[in-house]
């Protein structure tokens, strides 16, 4: 019944919106390209509008002539067909005029493209690395790395038949656990590359998207003029999680940015240093569940059953239940295997310990195993040696 009323209310909205369309908030309906928040995105918007108007006017003229003909030159009006079948003058005219129009568009576009191409003298450089299905950001001048994955709420709601209403969350599928923070009024260079398959980094408000390709490093730049939160998505099909790896840019003043960087570094240093932490089973399970949701659920699914033939199940899987495979379990999370990415760099000792504990005890796996951070920290050099 709930689905029904949802459907109904959407229908009402459509009808209402159609009635109000000429007057009301067309912006809410997202009809047009964003003007964005950089000088380039504004110019791209202008170029888009110019072309749109050019083709609209051509369309009105050409189809106008056609419809005039359709209404007047019909047999039912007793028109006798003319006999002409060519006219060199007319044909030359309608070849030359389009040439002039596209040449003038091309000149404007060339200037803009040359401007966009110049990535020199950037003050901040961030490397965005796409992988299935998250973004890793390296602040190259700061020795700072952050990972950005889909937020927990979207992950939960977006499961097949989750029973949760996406209409309740404004930023559904456009929110991440850790946004990238960038300073405003600064030339920022964004490098894009990928670790596995091709992805594309796209924030419409910055005015462009650029593919992230393994083995390539592409560069682009932006000067964000307005503080705010700008959202985008991966724009190149990259497997089943393609719709679930958004990009969130938080633009702040230079002072706030510097403060954020040093804070982040301190916090990361503290996080790295977790090998001595000892948690209770309960704490490990809670922490483990949230790590699982963020990092593992996309493939292994909320119920740990995976997807047959593509992603292995964890329920009753030997690696996740056999006591003699405990170390292999930890090492596989650190190093990855086949399609599974390595999490060793991204996750702290305690995170890996928690998620291992969670996987060994959730969904009826019930091994009672408790993995502590120390065990993970000891497994790391061993994992590398293997």
């Amino acid at each position: 019944m709930k689905g029904n009323s949802k459907l109904k209310s959407s229908f009402h909205k459509i009808i209402l919106a159609l009635l109000l369309m000429p007057f009301a908030a067309i912006a809410d309906w997202g009809l047009n390209m964003t003007q964005g928040v950089t000088p380039i995105s504004q110019e791209i918007y202008d170029m888009h509008m110019l072309t749109l108007w050019v083709v609209t006017i051509i369309g009105i003229l050409v189809f106008g002539v056609m419809f005039w003909s359709i209404f007047h030159h019909r047999k039912s009006k007793g028109v006798k067909p003319a006999k002409f079948s060519h006219s060199t003058t007319v044909e030359i005219i309608w070849t030359i005029i389009p040439l002039i129009i596209i040449t003038s568009l091309a000149i404007k576009a060339t200037k803009l493209l040359i401007k966009m191409d110049d990535t020199s003298e950037a003050q901040v450089t961030v490397k965005a690395t796409g992988s299935q299905w998250k973004w890793k950001y390296d602040y190259l001048d700061e020795d700072l790395t952050i990972y950005s994955v889909l937020d927990e709420n979207s992950t939960e709601v977006s499961q097949l038949n989750s029973g949760k209403d996406p209409m309740q969350s404004e930023n559904y599928l456009l929110d991440v656990d850790e946004p990238i923070v960038l300073p405003i009024n600064t030339k920022i260079r964004i490098l894009t590359t990928a670790a596995d398959v091709i992805h594309a980094w796209w924030v419409p408000d910055l005015g462009w998207k650029r593919d992230a390709i393994p083995g390539y490093i592409n560069d682009n730049w932006a000067v964000i003029e307005k503080p705010g939160v700008y959202r985008g998505q991966c724009a190149e099909i990259c497997g089943k999680g393609h719709g679930y790896m958004p990009i969130v840019v938080k633009a702040v003043t230079m002072e706030e940015y510097t403060a954020w960087v040093s804070e982040k570094k301190l916090a990361q240093a503290a996080e790295k240093n977790t090998s001595e932490m000892v948690l209770t089973m309960e704490e490990l399970m809670t922490k483990g569940e949230s790590v699982y949701k963020a990092q593992c659920l996309a493939c292994h699914q909320a119920n740990g059953q995976g997807i047959k033939g593509v992603f292995p199940a964890l329920v009753k899987s030997p690696v996740a239940v056999d006591s003699d495979k405990r170390l292999i379990h930890i090492q596989q999370i650190i190093l990855g295997k086949n399609l599974m990415p390595a999490f060793g760099e991204q996750l702290s000792d305690v995170d890996i310990a928690a998620v291992t504990t969670y996987e060994r005890n959730a969904w009826g796996n019930d091994t009672g195993d408790i993995v502590q951070a120390k065990e993970v920290s000891e497994a790391r050099p061993q994992a590398k040696a293997n």
Binding site: S10, H48, F63, S158, I198, P204, I213, G243
Partner: protein
């Protein structure tokens, strides 16, 4: 080449019956019919996948399928529609009509003709069987970009070999058309007297022969990368993932015109017939078609502006792409000038043709916008692109194919179709396809990427409208099947000259066209060669 013409019709009025007639057929009309029926069936297979896609996108959230299956629907829908529906429908029309239009007794290579058709069902059996395999069908998009496509499971070799077979079938079809047109025209049917439909198919055939082997090479390299340890496209092994995109689009862009040029030909036959006036600028139409075909080999990288090409490359491909607007514009202006001061009537084929001119042009406009590199950085891989190519391919190519079926159906069956139902089919198709695809322009501009199974709530309203249009369009096509079957079974008898203003040799034979036609070359009068 009249000796050849004598050799090919040894079985005079004798017509094989039953299964033998269809499996062993060397008759261009029967093979044409097979192609057309196959294309229609595939149109519904691909269409039902589109229905699954639109059902999933009806509302935000995942309701029906998991993302992996969604991706395989997106992938297989495209492959089925391009290689299974639109291309075979075009070849079917070419088979049926080219010999009739140039006064030839049959295609030049009838046995190869049989083979190029019968490869298709097997190729699609391979491709569609993957949907039932563990791990599912190919799900990396019809463009098959590595490294993603290399993650495909058991479906992978099936995908590659299906593409190989489809390529072989199309190349054989193209060779046949070229051989027929260059060797078997009736005396007096000079190249510049040929109907425009024949011209567009000759040019399309050259595109097929030049571009499909490149695709075959590309997918073979994928195969060896996956199974034989090469690394053509693997950066870690010294290869280059972008190389595949160059190879693919060197095929892929001409492919767009392989789908579109026959449609141009169809519309150039139909508009003069219903305007009762000769086609305006015949020779400029031929030259424009040839220029579009040649230019289509120099624009491939406009599909790849965001991969990070050097700026000189981006500029070159932008200019070349924008240049295509000129010959395309010439064609549109010519069609309108053909209508101008004509004496028009608006039967179903004409309605579909007029809709083609308008809607294909809208697709052309968005194409020009996409060709402008700096703005393409925003449009690329969004629903704006999805809207663009569906305007060109559905309301473009498919509308023209529909027009062709209505135009020639009386010639094929000997009966008139139900004009009232035909018009209903047209108006429902016109309205529903625009409700389906026009809002997708807005979705793309507002920032919705393509090939995603689920979306943010800001895209909810237009997606729902688009889905409603999609379901309506899908259901409407059942009416088309009904109209065709009804016409095949009976109705008002069709005359030899079905349409008052139609010109061309195909109208000089009775309706239905006999099993063998032009066993001796027709004597062409000046009036018969008018277009």
């Amino acid at each position: 080449m009249s000796t050849l013409a004598h050799d090919t019709h040894h079985d005079h009025d004798h017509k094989p019956t039953g299964l033998k007639r269809w499996f062993f057929s060397t008759n261009h009309k029967d093979i044409g019919t097979l192609y057309l029926i196959f294309a229609l069936a595939m149109f519904f297979v691909g269409g039902s996948m589109a229905m699954i896609i639109r059902a999933e996108l009806f509302q935000p959230g995942l309701q029906f399928v998991n993302p992996q299956f969604y991706n395989s629907m997106v992938t297989v829908h495209a492959l089925v529609m391009i290689f299974g529906a639109v291309m075979p429908a075009g070849v079917g029309l070419a088979n049926w009509m080219i010999p009739l239009m140039i006064g030839a007794p049959d295609m030049a290579l009838p046995r190869m003709n049989n083979m190029s058709f019968w490869i298709l069902p097997f190729a699609f059996a391979l491709l569609l069987s993957t949907l039932f395999m563990e791990g599912g069908g190919p799900a990396g998009g019809w463009t098959m970009y590595p490294p993603l496509v290399l993650q495909t499971g058991n479906a992978f070799p099936f995908l590659i070999f299906a593409v190989h077979f489809l390529g072989i079938s199309s190349i054989m079809g193209a060779i046949n058309i070229i051989a027929t047109v260059f060797n078997m025209r009736a005396p007096g049917m000079t190249l510049m007297k040929m109907p425009l439909f024949v011209w567009t198919w000759v040019i399309t055939s050259f595109l097929l022969i030049a571009s499909l082997p490149v695709l075959a090479g590309g997918v073979t390299m994928l195969l060896t990368d996956k199974y034989f340890g090469t690394s053509f496209f693997d950066a870690a092994g010294g290869g280059d993932p972008v190389l595949f995109q160059h190879i693919f689009w060197f095929f892929g862009h001409p492919e767009v015109y392989i789908l579109a040029l026959p449609a141009f030909g169809i519309v150039s036959q139909i508009i003069p017939a219903f305007a009762r006036k000769p086609l305006f600028g015949y020779s400029s139409m031929v030259y424009a078609t040839a220029s579009i075909a040649i230019l289509s080999f120099f624009v491939w990288a406009h599909h790849m502006f965001t991969v990070g090409l050097p700026i000189k490359g981006e500029l070159f491909f932008m200019y070349a792409t924008m240049l295509i607007a000129v010959p395309t514009g010439v064609k549109v202006f010519n069609w309108i000038a053909t209508m101008w001061k004509g004496s028009m009537t608006f039967e179903t084929p004409m309605l579909f043709s007029i809709a083609f001119v308008i809607l294909f042009t809208i697709g052309g406009f968005s194409g020009l916008m996409l060709g402008i590199t700096p703005v393409d950085f925003q449009y690329h891989d969004t629903y704006f692109v999805v809207a663009h190519f569906h305007y060109v391919l559905l309301t473009g190519a498919v509308f023209a194919l529909m027009a062709a079926v209505y135009y020639w159906l009386p010639k094929w069956t000997g009966y008139m179709y139900d004009e009232r139902l035909g018009k209903i089919h047209f108006w429902l198709s016109l309205i529903s396809s625009n409700v389906l695809f026009f809002p997708q322009h807005f979705l793309g501009l507002a920032g919705m990427p393509r090939r995603i199974p689920d979306y943010n709530i800001q895209f909810a309203d237009f997606n729902m409208i688009s889905s409603i249009g999609g379901f309506a369009y899908g259901i409407t096509q059942l009416l088309f099947v009904y109209i065709v079957i009804k016409c095949a079974l009976g109705g008002k008898k069709a005359k030899a000259l079905v349409w008052e203003g139609a010109k061309g040799l195909e109208w000089s034979v009775p309706s239905p066209a006999p099993f063998h036609t032009f066993e001796t070359p027709p004597k062409l009068t000046k009036a018969m060669l008018e277009h």
